[in-house]
Amino acid sequence: MIELAPHNKQGLAVGAPLIAGSGAVGFGDAWPPGVTPAHFGAIVTTPISRTPVRGAPQPRLVELPGGFLLTTGVHNPGYRRVLREHAPNWTKLGVPVLVALAGSTPEDWPDLAARLEDQEGVAGIELSIGETADLTDVRATLRAARRATTLPLLVKLPVTWAEPLAEECAAAEADALVIGIPPTAAYPAADGALVHGAVAGPIALPFTLRALRAVVALGLGLPVVAAGGICCVEDARLCLETGATAIQVRSLLWTNPAAVARLAGGLEC
């Protein structure tokens, strides 16, 4: 077992270093062919908000050299419906489920964290900080979220300024870091409209690696989970050798489900 929340009373022990990143399997209800909960040490849900969010209009997706941009605008049915419709299933998956909270409404984190506190089937919470967030705001929000829950708290950081944020997370007693959210870009879709969002796919890995190495070098004593652009066993090994405790994959489940089983198998020892 790998402990992802060593300083948390409750802890977050996972049976494998491979984690299905935020939204990779939706709310645990969208499994690609051949991919099962048994491939993962944990899964992270699509980010939820307090109220339902319609999300972004089309175009939402555009391909880039080496990857793509996708923006959903935190499209989600709101926490009430998610908990009603999906949480009953989480206890049956046989793998810890972490609930991601939408980065666009950090003011709702304490309230949502408190509501998840006693929800059966919730093993932890993943927060994510925007590339353009204000450091002072982040400090306050993280502390409020921490006070609101005893659940393991993972914080996903934008790779472009992960280092100062990582120190804030440690100070705020977050349990683990996820590195991270790739840099934001914009590219025209077929109709000419610009799609905005973080880059994804193989293109993301070099950004992940830079930030991962920098954050690991800070020696904060928190487990660091690598995310972004991991597509094969070699990519995963590189992250683990650079100091990651676990890794998240996401778009790989969408573009090549068969590669997920190979990756999971390749990380078993």
């Binding site: 939204g23 990779a24 399997v25 939706g26 209800d29 969208a30 499994w31 690609p32 062919p33 051949g34 699509t46 319609r54 999300g55 209009p57 089309q58 175009p59 939402r60 997706l61 391909e63 080496g66 990857g67 793509f68 996708l70 959903t72 499209h75 796919g201 193989p202 597509c231 778009s251 489940l253 969408w254 573009t255 090549n256 489900p257 068969a258």
Partner: protein, 264 residues
């Protein structure tokens, strides 16, 4: 949905397009007319995203995709792939089309290149004994499905902008007649095309009721095909819904208000 390897067993130029017949028994068995297949084009991770195809023929052990003469790198790779190439496929995505039981007259209506996606439904309905009319419009004869590709019993009505074949212009003048005759309709084209269909149906049938016209929704890109990624969300039936779950075949009545903004 399956992830399956399909072997390219035959390639045929059809105008500037290429038709690729693929051997993939299990996938072919699961495919219904109108469902999508996501095909990896290229080697390894280049390009990273799959290309979406709506099969133009479905047989017992094979299915056929049509690669348009686009500048897309993935399409270029597929047009150049030699027989024997093994293609990694993900599909079928979503719900396909089947004419409801008891129906007698099926009208299929297509616009340009997308009309090809109607072929499996045409063939399947004809084989099931329905009376089928296919109506298609294109800029010129080259845009239209050749008549020899249709089952003999299928009536074929066409319109071309230059008037070289069928009506001169688009199908609008004959839509009222066609929709008056049909028990149900299945269409493939652009959103503008669907808006014209909706208006024509409302006129011909004094309203557009649910269940009458199904359409293939190709305007949103498919990425995961499972509902996880959110790439395919579009305005239908009073919300922003995932096409890979509710579509790609949708009831036209669910699209008029939000998607097409026409009244019915």
């Amino acid at each position: 949905m399956l992830q399956a390897t399909a072997e390219l067993i035959e390639r045929k130029a059809q105008g500037a397009s290429q038709e690729l017949r693929l051997h993939a028994p299990e996938l072919a068995r699961h495919l219904s007319p109108g469902q999508a297949v996501l095909v990896r084009a290229g080697w390894d991770l280049h390009p990273y995203l799959r290309r979406t195809f709506y099969p133009i023929a479905i047989a017992a052990e094979t299915w056929t995709l049509r690669v348009p003469p686009s500048a897309d790198w993935g399409h270029a790779w597929l047009r150049a792939a030699p027989p024997g190439t093994r293609l990694d496929c993900l599909g079928p995505v979503g719900h396909g089309y089947a004419a409801p039981a008891g129906v007698r007259h099926l009208l299929c209506v297509g616009e340009g290149e997308l009309a090809w996606a109607l072929l499996p439904a045409v063939v399947q309905a004809d084989a099931a004994g329905l009376v089928v009319t296919l109506a298609a419009e294109g800029r010129s004869v080259r845009d239209l499905i050749p008549v020899k590709r249709l089952p003999v019993a299928v009536e074929y009505r066409v319109a071309t902008l230059n008037g070289r074949a069928g009506h001169c212009g688009d199908l609008t003048p004959i839509l009222a007649e066609l929709f008056g005759w049909a028990d149900v309709a299945f269409a493939a084209g652009s959103l503008d095309f669907y808006a014209r269909l909706a208006t024509a149906i409302t006129t011909a049938r004094f309203g557009l009721s649910a269940g009458f016209a199904q359409v293939l929704y190709t305007a949103a890109p498919l990425l995961c095909g499972t509902g996880a990624c959110g790439a395919c969300a579009a305005e239908i039936a009073g919300g922003r819904h995932r096409i890979c779950r509710r579509g790609p075949v949708l009831d036209l009545a669910d699209m008029v208000d939000q998607t097409l903004r026409v009244s019915r």
